[in-house]
Subunit: 185 residues, 2 copies
Amino acid sequence: MAASTRETIIQLGDDLLRKDGFNAFSYADISKPLGVKNAAVHYHFPSKQDLAETIALWHVDVFERFVQKTASKQPIDRLRTFLNFYHSIHLSGKVCIIGAFATDWHSLNPKVHAKVQAFTESVVSWLSDLVQEGRDLGQIHSKHNPRTTALRILTSIFAATQLARITGDDDFSLVKNSLLDELSN
Amino acid sequence: MAASTRETIIQLGDDLLRKDGFNAFSYADISKPLGVKNAAVHYHFPSKQDLAETIALWHVDVFERFVQKTASKQPIDRLRTFLNFYHSIHLSGKVCIIGAFATDWHSLNPKVHAKVQAFTESVVSWLSDLVQEGRDLGQIHSKHNPRTTALRILTSIFAATQLARITGDDDFSLVKNSLLDELSN
DNA sequence: GTCTATATTCCGATAGAC
DNA sequence: GTCTATCGGAATATAGAC
């Protein structure tokens, strides 16, 4: 099925947000590829905050599907899939949405904050469960409590998508591979 | 000694850059506290890119002094001081300059990029040396190569300054303390 | 050398056309 | 329901006053 205008706007907005940052793009950057005037975007998303909120909700959806699709995998394989997903983010020239929202935090209103918080907490929670399960099964090695390990995985890999812009692709791989090496039993 | 106007601009610019992001502040935000018109800032820094470049160079200076001041410490204590420095960044409501520049990367010109790359490489290099030395002295425990461990420390702690905006202060401490726990022998 | 008045462009947003 | 013409304001930057 063809993507609706609304869906296309969300996609373009998400790309711009994660490539350039919330304050670096305008509605004109979204309307131009669509072949309409910038004001047309305001019909679908009255304010830029509304768009940001919808982008956050879209990530909730995507992650929910990711969770379901990987639910039957072994914990260590879920981790591998998670890290591969971040690798694709890096290769596409974007950064993780969590870091993008975090550095633009003070430009976003409370409604956006709430959605981003819910999304982030769901990722941390999912990772914590993965670590706990993996440890119970003897697949994952970690001396910290599950949430702490989850935070260490998440911070390292999402910062790697940022750092690699500065220091190069190799450093992304070093971070990614070291996480797997370290956590695998 | 009283800070020069130029120095004050750099300070204000750095604060705004790390609190709100490069595209979220204007010269008016800098000129207002100084009691002058926004155009006055252009005399000191003709373009915003010039200001960004100078901010990057300022961080090179600060880090150089940090390195010298901590040179006589034991590796594990240097690490502790480094992580405490990031704690103060977090408490002041800012994020690490590396992450701030990284998410705004495509808004910055090649001259800024070069300065940020030099700064970042000096931090990674310093951390790598610290890890290597610490391991030789039996103070630091790490199964990866020094650069990889350095990258894991840096990514985790700078992302923690970002993540904690979303999930709260506790998570910053969890990351920070787990790094020390894990690396200390 | 330092700052102000001003130009130009672009931004987010509203009102209203179709 | 969808998009355009347009507004008010803010952004970066230049030219020139003091």
